[in-house]
Symmetry: none
Subunit: 175 residues, 4 copies
DNA sequence: AATGAATGAGTCTTCATTCAT
DNA sequence: CATGAATGAAGACTCATTCAT
């Protein structure tokens, strides 16, 4: 969605008129599709979550083992983030925003729900004294984001950080 | 600063009139102290960064070894975060906001600059093949935040997550 | 333009909300057409200058001789001033105001530029030791304004002052 | 009065805080002497009118004949205007302003009232078919102002315009 | 009498939203 | 359905004025 660009730059303050222009439609047309600006933002949030989720799922299909599954998903996330800087920035803004409803947050998780369950179950089965799934999931997300930020600042070190980042996560998660 | 409360709830959309009321002064009085709303937010950002920084520094004084130094700082951060939920939320909002200037961001780091340098140097000296300081610092911050979020959701598990979180970080950082 | 009424009464202090009401539109609509209040005032200035200029030009077309040319222009100015008391007052306020840009002032002179040149050239050609054109032009304007003020205070004496005023100007200008 | 400077620059929009600073006193002190901003402006108006009036009166004392009387007054006005550009500009702004009360306008004329009466009576006595005193007075004022403006733009031509201006006025007024 | 911080009414301007075309 | 001019509620900011010191 074209709105991502504006949200990335201006956050919630992105003006509907500008969003409309970016999307190549007239000012009023936005409201043919979204009742309010908040509706638009919620839809954008769910869409973007769907995009990252889709990328991760694609990587997830190719898994061969537990560790490789996590790694494929990690790599897919990192690559999506690097190729979609603007969308990622928009998503970050939306994520902290109060205007995203609980329903949208739940909807945002839906695409990856079963994948996440599988990954976490498999991980728990393969380590001793596993940590709580929520904690692992949150750790995963936090560290991928850190990794993408590092690579964004030093693109030459992409492969290094992608690997290093994942290994850090794996150590953190598996003890 | 009283504005934290409003920023925590409403982000950048916090109304100056409301901030004034919260602070117990008249609407116009806000502008006796801050030229613009953005100035106020930048000042708030630096102040809050100073608070977390101060808390961490206090812990840092008590260190005995490298590991214990990191742990004291970790614990201080977590405790500050738990005791200052509103300020922490405000800080999160400000951190992602475009209205915080590079100068303010730099000023925000100032209080902990030398502590951070010491911690990172000591860590690098005590492990083999240390990771980049930036990566370690970012990992630290990301994982404390995750930890605080976990505890906020399950206060009973405070001690568990505080320990578990730090150990995750330590494994991630030390390889 | 409807704003003239408000400017005549309140000068630069005329409130945009009131101007909008006078114009029969909503408060915000003003800013669809003029980016700022100052833009509006500048546009009003140029428009009003155009109106007086147009009136003078109409009189100028009917000239037969140098003296009659000046007289027709004088009469047109006086009549416009008498019929458009409010616009004239607004113009006076705008004229002394610091918010009218040099560009607008230049634009205000444009409509009468060539007429003024012709009148001044013809006058210079028909008298001995002519005075400087700027001085004559300024004298003209000053004395028409005095004349209009006199007539406004004593409407019965309109014809008397219109004639008397012009003759005073003519004596002043021709020596 | 120090306020003249601010009024010259900013007109009625001159801020009381700035006026206070210019006058070298504290913000609130202004209101020890003037109940309101309008009161201050009215007082300033009367004071400034008194100053020009005083200058003209000084010239008036030295008169020897009717014509010379007018000329001395003219010269005094022109010189005051040239030496007091800022005060003159302030006076112009105040003159067109709606906040100057009829009382203040009357008070402004007081110092020169009897002088004006004498000059006008003498003029009327020495010419045939004299014009109305109001018209002559207004013509005088309008043309001195034009003259001062001309000299301000071309200071080298001071003596020329002072003479030329007065002669224009004299021709205009005496027919 | 002087100060200047505090006040809050007032104003410009923005922008999500509507609706006639 | 699309358009974009018009709307008007909302909000940041200004500044004359007050008043405790």
């Amino acid at each position: 969605m074209a709105a991502a660009e504006n949200v990335a730059t201006d956050g919630l303050a992105a003006r509907t008129a500008k969003i409309a222009t970016t999307a190549g439609v007239a000012e009023g047309t936005v409201f043919t599709y979204f009742a309010t600006k908040e509706t638009l933002f919620n839809a954008l949030y769910v869409t973007l979550k769907g995009e990252v989720g889709g990328a991760m799922l694609a990587g997830f299909q190719e898994r061969e083992s537990v560790l490789v599954g996590w790694q494929k998903v990690w790599d897919s996330y990192v690559e999506w983030g690097l190729c979609n800087g603007i969308k990622r920035k928009a998503l970050k803004q939306l994520h902290v925003s109060a205007c995203i409803t609980p329903d949208s947050r739940k909807a945002g998780l839906r695409p990856t729900k079963s994948m996440a369950a599988t990954l976490l179950k498999d991980l728990a089965a393969s380590v001793q004294r596993p940590q709580s799934p929520e904690f692992i999931a949150a750790t995963f997300e936090a560290l991928v984001e850190v990794t993408i930020d590092m690579i964004a600042k030093a693109p030459a070190a992409q492969e290094y950080y992608k690997r290093e980042g994942f290994e850090s996560f794996w150590r953190a998660a598996t003890r």
